[in-house]
Symmetry: C2
Amino acid sequence: MPAPSDPVDTVLELENFLPYQLNVCSSRVSEALSRIYGERYQIGVPEWRVLVTLGQFETMTAKAIGLHSHMHKTKVSRAVAMLERRKLIGRRANRADMREAFLSLTPAGREIYNDLAPSALEFARQLLDTIAPDDRAMFCRVMSKLNERADQIARNIAKEIGEDRAEDRINPVAKERFRG
Amino acid sequence: MPAPSDPVDTVLELENFLPYQLNVCSSRVSEALSRIYGERYQIGVPEWRVLVTLGQFETMTAKAIGLHSHMHKTKVSRAVAMLERRKLIGRRANRADMREAFLSLTPAGREIYNDLAPSALEFARQLLDTIAPDDRAMFCRVMSKLNERADQIARNIAKEIGEDRAEDRINPVAKERFRG
DNA sequence: TGACGATGGTTGCTAAAGAAACTAGTTTTC
DNA sequence: GAAAACTAGTTTCTTTAGCAACCATCGTCA
């Protein structure tokens, strides 16, 4: 019988099944994190990501934000719209290409970012402070490998069934579901 | 300047921020996985979890399934309802407690499970086959620690702001959002 | 130049997820 | 032994996510 923490088993046990473990871990962590900014600033994950991305890069188009923060363009669009309504970010037209616009934090937005970023870093510090630095680095490396591998496998399957390549999908899912 | 894979930074960079990395990794992995069963059986993650849990434990109540698979009771309820409509699981009343019912796979459900479980294990094998066994074990240990730590932090925050303890929440979120 | 395809971004529609309210049954308490 | 408190599970309602269709603009190629 495999050890309970052995990630490769011969019988399918949910609690030792990597995709499940990852999902649970991810949602527990982001749940904890969202308690820090959710209550305080009344924003959700997408808005948080937009704020942080703009805080990091000063000025960006919605497209670039989506690419960098791994979000679907509609998610970005809506998050941007709400942050704009709240006057936390502003937009400046790109005279060279009127389709897109340059987004950046307003002073009010920068203020929130300046408070929000340290709390987030502090949160990450607390999360990781019981984990040895070597293990942290290793953990990141494994995550990257998993990402790579997952994409590889997904591509293979897509090729097998000859799927149409929808270009602007972030989380492509099966299109039709059984609707009993 | 910190190395790009250093999980502890002094500036907030999304791509090196653990909760973000976890979220991306988790969704890419489950996206890839869902391609295996989604297309083939027309089910989603909740249904998959119910099937797998019942495959593992033979008979269970909805409550127990939710506990074991970390799902909100409404999610379980709906997944069960759809699997029942498709005659993949059946229910037997518990004469000793008529509130709950014992759920288990029908032969048809077991058949699907018998095909589905090996593919899932094979998927996990492919995911992990480039990762050294020691690293796999380490990865799992770190995930458990992160889970623990995340809950701890969340509890602390909840205590600080003196939150009401909603007992049947799996992913509690901020209650009120700004609706610009 | 001007049609045609591609691209950035928004909107409309549908599906999924969770909170809260509810139903039905069980346990506790006085 | 009945009212109150509690529990398993379902339903309703609201929010959120994503796909598809769309609009406006841009690049290309005849």
